[in-house]
Symmetry: C2
Subunit: 483 residues, 2 copies
């Protein structure tokens, strides 16, 4: 049963398992105590810290363990901002950061700080030049991930670190997705990561704060971990996490494995568009994590797609809004301006069998086809012929009443209010054939995904996206038929 | 090699170990995911929550897991205070709470809140009547531990909970030390605990917030654990923690074990004063944790005592200032007004062999004697004969110069400036015989422990503690010879 969601959590590495077992018996006591059990724990903790620091590329006294990657980010952002309060209170981060960074930024804004977001291109990448332009004198901290967690695109961290260093602004790198594959190069000031992403156990994050970085830990003080992470040390888990990271980095075949997974991902990227109609593979094809690829399928409900893939034995995740409880699609896909419906992220764990990837490519087309059929979309011809009536269940289609859109008098209006992704796009696709070339379809929708997916559909289908207008409920999205 | 510091951390319970191993393979995936690995994790997490809630005595949806007991306390205090901000900003806690509560209180005060401390009696117990008197209309939260972590004294939690309920003020109970032995009775509103104290793995705390309690989580938001504990769930550890708690509570022999340890502790409490001269056993002899006893030895350096006990194979901890880096003795012993020098806490883990306790009682007298001898104190006669000169190394003793203390002209001054605990008390003991009954000895000391240990010595030695005066450096402690 292939598990293809390593970017969420990787199965425990065998070396981590072994180290965990050994240190359950040796590392349970309080390392602050002077008796033998405590001293033994302290030795284990020190050794784990040295191993982790070596893998991160910092000094052991610059690194603390936290209970999670999320807490490493929260602590790092809050501590760095507080340390620079006199200089300014502006936090600059990319639009595609992990939610832990976004939530730390929200908390900063709620406390009176200011937050600025850096846009990304269609591959999800920040332009270093944009960072340079945004480095105002009151900027206290820049946060940039090493590689994106949803689409795999690598960020220009080394270049940005240099710009930040020149400007005297610290850079915090969220390295959660990339640390398994190598250290983050460059003169970053803070780095956060999460052990369960690299095959360590849950319960371990890493926060490195390089010497010379102003840092003022927030929250109630605690003497553990240099005052930067409150609570009793989780030594068995920390030992296991460090052992797994060391094994990945210096074990035999590490480079080969990255290259092998990169090739498997290339295979998915190349063959998917040949196998599945109306699919968009997103993210940078080259400057990317070795093991991760994301694609979106038009006219597909992400939740059903995941469910069907699960039934077929594949565990993957999705950034579609229809799979989450938030009603908003992934902020990463939105920032990139790409399709969010029918979104699938495949992230291969170490040692993924080639045969499993091949089987995924065999199974996926049929799964997508069946989901589309259930939604009333024919596999090869989702756009209905001119004049054909919309099928049930569907949204109401009507000639636009005079006055509702005086500037588009020739149009057709699709009322998709109350319908969730992917229905508004499906109705648009069915209706576009009913208007002449040059005519418009206006989709009324209160589904947040429509704002993103209707323009994305236009790009994929070579239709013209005219724009969005306010409507009584939701918004009106206007599309002009071009082909 | 007997480990007698269960109150710091208990060795992993065999049931916890087994559960941890099993759930490392079953519970590593993200429980928020819909695929089978995620669903499996969710089931494990839900079952662990149910088991923990049953042991705590709350509903499963009232309980979240945190990465540590410390974080459970920090989160609980901050969330409860924020939830009641409109009512008031006053936090009331006992003077003997765990440092995690005190640090949360400091953070509250630093953010503009007010904090009031409840005094304890000589056993370390809060009087419920004091709580009633202190429940002002602007009190937002009361924090009271179920039992003290240093001396084992149980607090009148049930009574205080009732008073709080009548006043409409929530009560947070830090149950870290007692939860292994039974649920905390009464109408408390919030409860915090820590799994590694009951034989669960490190990395797991518990926070229960009863329905109807106003609670506003602080810090960056996170969707995990009902928004009350940020970061990826540590399912294997949580499952192990819940399994250990259930095993302790409902396993065969639990009640017997508590009674057996209680008897062993009684044995220590009774026999110590017979075996070791000048020892003070502290804490409530009856209303106490079954497994914990604390005592202090006059004229003994706590660090050396711990070191010698460690050499003899016994792992214990101490609240003496000379064993820590803070230079201040335990705030618990200070609040109780008892001796802090030569302090030893013995906390027996489940299954402690009776023979080990007997051996401890055999070994301790010799260890104390040897430490005293090294400090120049004769085992049976620490008070020097009148007129005998102080031995080297010692503090300077001089007739008090006229004018320095006009109200005590007949006195002798001991200059113990720059000398650390237990030297000031040893010098006092050596000097008291040099003054006539009714005469005084004034000890000059800049050691924080002297403020506590000189009055405690007077109580133990039936001498009169006159009081403290300001001095050029440190303070001057005046003692009148009574016997």
């Amino acid at each position: 049963m292939p598990y293809f969601d390593a970017a969420s959590a990787a199965p425990l590495h065998p070396v981590a398992r072994e180290a965990l077992l050994a240190s359950l018996d040796e590392g349970w006591a309080d390392p602050a105590r002077l008796y033998r059990e405590g001293r033994r724990g302290r030795l284990l903790l020190d050794a784990a810290r040295e191993a982790a620091a070596e893998a991160v590329g910092c000094r052991p006294d610059e690194l603390v363990f936290t209970p999670s990657g999320t807490q490493a980010v929260h602590t790092g952002v809050a501590g760095a901002l507080a340390g620079r309060r006199r200089t300014g209170r502006r936090l600059l981060h990319s639009a595609v950061e992990h939610s832990s960074v976004l939530h730390a930024a929200e908390a900063h804004a709620a406390a009176g700080g200011t937050v600025a977001e850096l846009a990304v291109d269609r591959t999800g990448r920040v332009a270093a030049g944009d960072v340079a332009a945004a480095l105002t004198p009151d900027t206290a901290l820049v946060a940039l991930q090493s590689a994106n967690h949803e689409v795999g695109t690598e960020q220009p961290v080394e270049e940005v670190a240099e710009l930040c260093q020149e400007a005297g602004v610290p850079l915090l790198v969220d390295a959660a997705q990339s640390l398994a594959w190598g250290p983050v190069p460059g003169a970053w000031s803070l780095l956060a990561a999460s052990a369960h992403k690299w095959g360590g156990p849950p319960g371990v994050g890493v926060l490195a704060v390089r010497k010379g970085t102003r840092f003022a830990p927030q929250g109630p003080r605690d003497e553990r971990e240099s005052g930067r992470s409150a609570g009793f040390e989780n030594i068995p888990a920390v030992v296991a996490a460090a052992a797994a990271l060391r094994a990945l980095r210096s074990g035999p075949g590490t480079d080969t494995e990255a290259a092998r997974l990169r090739e498997l991902v290339d295979r998915i990227r190349t063959r998917l568009p040949e196998l599945v109609p109306d699919v968009e593979v997103v993210g940078d094809p080259v400057r990317r994590l070795p093991h991760l690829v994301t694609f979106s399928c038009l006219y597909v409900d992400g939740e059903t797609l995941l469910h069907e893939l699960d039934r077929a034995g594949f565990s993957v995740s999705s950034g579609s809004s229809c799979t989450s409880s938030t009603l908003t699609p992934s902020h990463v896909l939105r920032a990139m301006g790409v399709l969010s419906e029918g979104n699938v992220r495949v992230s291969l764990p170490y040692g993924t069998a080639e045969a499993d990837v091949e089987r995924f490519l065999e199974v996926l087309p049929g799964v997508v086809r069946s989901v589309r059929e259930r939604l009333g979309v024919a596999a090869e011809a989702p756009v209905a012929a001119p004049g054909s009536a919309p099928r049930e269940p569907s949204a109401a289609v009507a000639e636009e009443p005079a006055g509702a859109a005086a500037e588009e008098p020739e149009g057709v209006v699709v009322d998709a209010l109350g319908r969730r992704c992917p229905i508004p796009v499906i109705e648009l696709a069915k209706t576009i054939g009913q208007v002449p070339v040059g005519g418009t379809v206006t989709v009324l929708s209160d589904d947040e995904a429509a704002r993103q997916d209707i323009p994305a559909w236009c790009g994929m289908r070579d239709q013209e996206y005219v724009g969005e207008r306010a409507a009584e409920r939701g918004a009106a999205y206007v599309v002009r038929r071009r082909v």
